[in-house]
């Protein structure tokens, strides 16, 4: 059963790994993915993440359950932040544990691909001059194709 958090506060990757792995010495592989706020042109002041409370948690739990049914995971943790973030801040964390690396690597990538296309979050970028909602990318939708089999 995956552990899901949708929160405004930051997370500590080391603490999350320790808490997830605790007491489980069958674990032989730990994969983590962290997504952070990018500032490509040096103009970003704030990135604000809006989400749909209630549906967000349900959707992340649904995606995690699919991953757990597909790969032999020994642990799964997803944290996604919302609210006003600054360049360099953490946005999302996925941690997967398994006996061997293959399952943990694949499940982490799967979780991120599905999260990007299904979890109800919307990013708004605020520069000094204007505010604009980030557009969805076709590459994110295409990333799902490789899992459809």
């Amino acid at each position: 059963m995956a552990s899901i958090s949708v929160q405004s506060n930051d997370f500590d990757i080391s603490e999350e790994i320790v808490a997830l792995k605790k007491g489980n010495n069958e674990v032989g592989a730990i994969v983590t993915f962290t997504g952070t706020v990018r500032d490509v042109g040096g103009t970003l002041k704030t990135m604000t993440l809006e989400h749909y409370p209630g549906m967000t948690e349900k959707e992340l739990e649904r995606i995690a359950a699919v991953a757990e049914a597909r790969w032999p995971l020994l642990g799964c943790r997803i944290i996604h932040r919302y609210g006003a973030l600054k360049p360099g801040d953490n946005i999302v964390l996925v941690v997967t544990l398994s006996a061997h690396r293959g399952a943990a690597f694949k499940a982490a990538e799967f979780l991120m691909d599905y999260l990007k296309s299904n979890a109800p979050f919307w990013k708004k970028e605020q520069t000094g001059k204007d505010n604009s909602w980030v557009s969805s990318k076709q590459s994110d939708a295409s990333a799902l194709d490789k899992w459809e089999k």
């Binding site: 749909y52 549906m55 959707e59 996604h80 299904n118 109800p120 990013k123 969805s136 994110d140």
Partner: protein, 83 residues
């Protein structure tokens, strides 16, 4: 029914949610979008580009052809951009 709006659709409509008694003309999400588009100029503009409009019915992703009822929570939003 409870209608919720997110992101630029919320800003365009000018409110985060509104309650509505299901009109007799509304059977599907698509019918609801047609109905809401007639509510105000802001609704009409915000809901114009149907290809960019995603929907969830009772917090589960749904298509524009989904059948909806008076007790449903319908969320209307652009494609998601989390992660």
């Amino acid at each position: 029914m409870l209608i919720k709006y997110f992101s630029w659709i919320r800003e365009g409509v000018g409110k985060a949610e509104e309650s509505l008694a299901k009109p007799s003309s509304v059977t599907t999400v698509s019918d609801l979008l047609d109905h809401l588009s007639g509510v105000s100029e802001q609704h009409s503009v915000a809901l114009k580009e149907r290809v960019f409009i995603k929907v969830a019915v009772n917090q589960v992703h749904a298509g524009h052809d989904a059948v909806i009822g008076d007790e449903d929570e319908i969320a209307i939003f652009p494609p998601v951009t989390g992660g």
